[in-house]
């Protein structure tokens, strides 16, 4: 049942799933082109947080998005009805449609899916409502804000903005792997013929709640995020959105679309072990499920985009799980969180876009801020400088609180390689 670059037949074109457009809001670049440049240059999104009051915290850097004006991509919905995460989601969805070159009228005539993953939904708004409540009592909460906090709006508002009614709008709230969950859902829906296209991804806005939680756990880095480094001190919280246009290869070919990459398969499982600590065996098992689903052998994988949060626990557990699956010579393994911070529900969606851009343009984005690799991690994290590489298959890991693992396998798409 697996679809493989080498053995795929032309009549698989209906069930092969390709990526044809990206909407990107990130702290290192807005839009696929600028994002690709940022990844190649190893840009850092780290800077002092301004979005909420950080007085009293000893350190408070984050990867905040400033000056990106997502409202410019929103033409139909009143922006005051959209929370910060929904604003990113809606704008990224429109950007993905525009970038894919598909005609919106054509999309409206088809059956589609919009699936957006998130960790925090509109927690930024909830934080503000709490602030009101403390200052003036709960009766003083702003009704406009209260009306926009439901996280199902991340997907529904995108459909409304684009005038898409014949869509299944889904918001997946599986924390920090939610973007990969969403991409997987779209992949299955296209393969089964359930939908003709899927706009999938993830979105989150920085919020005080989550920053405080990670800070209290001792997992916020004082300066920058250094994944796999012997001196790594944790994450920086980030924000943004990544939305991808998924369609069948047949559909993409029929309209002469630019194809960035192919989704070869994915895997999901649950640790059923601990609420916050990842489980090595289960993470390894998830990689096996994903590789099997994609019909890919370990020796065919050229690059792993790790979940790579930069915490002590994650990076050692994840690299050991990689060794469990790949043996002594795993492929190069990078962490985009060194550049983007931890963008929560957007993280694995932005990483899937980054992997696709790497496959398409032929480079490996670096793990920045790196000084000395932790001997317990034992991987080549491509420190500090991107490298040129003709990649064929890339694995993108997404791990989350609750033991919610989701891993996507992408392949290079080359016309005529059938």
């Amino acid at each position: 049942m697996s679809v493989n670059i080498s053995d795929a037949m032309p009549d698989d074109a209906e069930t092969r799933v390709v990526l044809t457009g990206f909407g990107v809001f990130s702290s290192i670049g807005v839009g696929a082109d600028e994002f690709a440049k940022g990844l190649r240059a190893g840009r850092s999104g780290a800077k002092p947080i301004t979005l909420f009051d950080t007085e009293g915290f000893a350190h408070a850097n984050g990867c905040e998005i400033t000056g990106s004006e997502p409202e410019r991509w929103i033409h139909n919905l009143p922006v005051d009805t959209l929370g910060r995460a929904t604003t990113f989601s809606v704008a990224a969805a429109r950007m993905a449609v525009e970038e894919s070159g598909v005609d919106l009228e054509d999309l409206r005539a088809k059956r589609g899916m919009i699936s957006i993953g998130t960790t925090d939904g509109e927690s930024y708004d909830l934080d503000n409502l709490v602030e009101t409540e403390i200052a003036s009592g709960p009766a003083a909460m702003d009704p406009t804000t209260a009306r926009r906090v439901s996280p199902n709006r991340l997907s529904i508002a995108a459909a409304q903005e684009l005038g898409l009614s014949n869509v299944e709008a889904v918001t997946i709230a599986t924390a920090c792997s939610a973007g990969n969950y969403a991409i997987g859902q779209g992949f299955d829906a296209i393969r089964s013929g359930e939908v003709d296209y899927a706009l999938c991804g993830g979105a989150d806005a920085m919020c005080r709640k989550t920053f405080t939680g990670f800070y209290r756990l001792g997992t916020i880095a004082p300066d920058v995020c250094r994944p796999f480094d012997v001196d790594r001190k944790g994450i920086l919280t980030g924000e943004g959105a990544g939305v991808l246009m998924l369609e069948s290869l047949a559909s993409a070919r029929a309209r002469g679309a630019k194809i960035y990459a192919e989704v070869l398969g994915y895997g999901m499982n649950c640790d059923a072990y601990h609420q916050v600590a990842p489980n090595q065996d289960s993470v390894a098992r998830c990689m096996e499920i994903a590789l099997e689903n994609a019909g890919v052998k370990t020796e065919e994988v050229d690059l792993i985009s790790a979940h790579g949060t930069g915490t002590k626990a994650n990076d050692v557990t994840e690299s050991r799980a990689i060794h469990d699956v790949y043996g002594d010579g795993p492929p190069r393994t990078v962490s985009l969180k060194s550049m983007l911070g931890h963008t929560m529900g957007a993280a694995s969606a932005l990483a899937t876009i980054a992997c696709s851009l790497s496959l398409h343009h032929g480079f490996i984005p670096p793990t920045i801020n790196h000084r000395e690799t932790d001997p317990e991690c034992e991987i080549d994290c491509v420190p500090n400088e991107s490298v040129e590489a003709d990649l064929r298959v890339v694995q993108n890991n997404g791990l989350a609180f609750g033991g919610n693992n989701a891993i996507v396998i992408l392949g290079k798409y080359a016309e005529g390689a059938l």
Partner: protein, 366 residues
């Protein structure tokens, strides 16, 4: 586990409910069929400071008494409701489940997890002497997938574990997602349902959202269903109802066209003839949208069919759990032997953010 695509439909083989009628499916069946009023005055000590003095709570749901003291010290209410419903489902289904833990998925619908847990965490940061004087053991509660993750930990469910933030349509959104998991072979058994807690935080958010439309009292609870791939054509003896189709649409201001399209799609995809439909369960939504929904469904199926589905108003507005309870109400009819052989019941669900969803359940021919 090799993933193999399966062409059959999901079949509900067992279910459980923790509802304002009580803890357990039997309490739900008798309560919903009798239309027992579940509203009560809120205990002023436990639920102080809310906008309304009444709600439809799960009676006797003192979490640590229901689940025991081990592992529940930091557990929030919505997680407790879900863990209890999954516990009951696994207990009551006995050896029905043939799938291993790795092959068993959990799909849980929610509005936003626990608004109370999320807002309490921020409040602790803002009111404490230092902004980071928060209880770290409460942090997982402030993330929306807490309940699903805890269900997995408590009941050793290692397959895909998915939280769908679907508002009022969450139950059907979860059902649709579960159908996809079975169809793609990513799970052999899916425990699927939706949970909502009552809390003061939710009551205030709801109060401000509704504005002038006072709506129903808030309710809470969780209903869970065990789903497996099957077909009544080949496995006549197995299953309580088949999920013949689930469809949804997004609407803008007026839901009528979207709901009409949704019903057409469900009837077509489920290969359902209009005559086989014996009951239509409507969402308990009030206001203009509720009226539009009622008008479309009455126009399509007649008031008599709408009247055959048990009314859900007696448990209040259970939001994310509402569609799951609607399914439970139709399965309750079946428990009483009150469904025609091979008959089809429809569930309609509307979320006022802009989603209509519709599912068709086909009952066994036997």
């Amino acid at each position: 586990m090799t993933l193999t695509a399966v062409a059959t439909k999901p079949v509900i083989t067992a279910w459980s409910a923790v509802s304002p009628f009580g803890i357990g499916k039997d309490a739900f069946v008798s309560g919903v069929l009798a239309g027992t009023d579940t509203s009560s005055a809120l205990d002023a000590e436990e639920w102080s400071g809310g906008p309304d003095g009444h709600a439809c709570l799960v009676p006797g749901f003192a979490l640590r008494e229901v689940l025991g003291k081990k592992g529940t010290r930091s557990m929030d209410r919505v997680t407790g409701l879900a863990v209890t419903a999954v516990r009951d489902l696994l207990r009551d289904s006995g050896d029905l489940r043939t799938a291993s833990d790795e092959e068993t998925a959990l799909v849980l619908g929610t509005t936003t997890g626990s608004a109370q847990s999320m807002m309490d965490f921020t409040r602790a940061s803002m009111e404490g002497d230092r902004p980071f004087y928060v209880d770290p053991s409460l942090m997982p509660n402030a993330v929306m997938n807490c309940a699903a993750g805890q269900c997995a930990i408590w009941h050793s469910l290692k397959g895909p574990n998915t939280t769908i933030a679907g508002g009022r349509a969450a139950g059907l959104s979860a059902l649709s997602y579960a159908t996809g998991l079975l169809g793609s072979g990513r799970a052999r058994t899916v425990l699927c349902g939706a949970a909502e807690e009552f809390s003061t935080a939710r009551a205030w958010l709801d109060h401000h959202r509704r504005g002038a439309d006072s709506g129903a009292l808030l309710g809470e609870g969780c209903a869970m269903f065990m789903l497996e791939s099957g077909s009544f054509a080949t496995e006549e003896s197995r299953g309580l109802a088949e999920v013949a189709a689930v469809e949804s649409r997004v609407f803008f201001d007026d839901l009528r066209d979207a709901l009409g399209g949704c019903i057409d799609a469900v009837l077509e995809r489920g290969e359902i003839s209009r005559e086989d439909v014996f009951a239509v369960s409507t969402s308990p939504l009030t206001g203009t949208l509720g009226e539009q929904e009622h008008a479309v469904l009455t126009d399509r199926f007649g008031a008599e069919l709408l009247g055959r589905a048990p009314a859900m108003s007696s448990i209040g507005d259970t939001t994310a759990a509402s569609a799951a309870f609607q399914i439970g109400s139709l399965l309750s009819l079946a428990e009483r032997g009150d469904v025609p052989a091979g008959g089809v019941a429809l569930v309609s669900s509307v979320d006022d953010n802009g989603v209509v969803s519709c599912a068709a359940l086909r009952f066994p021919v036997r």
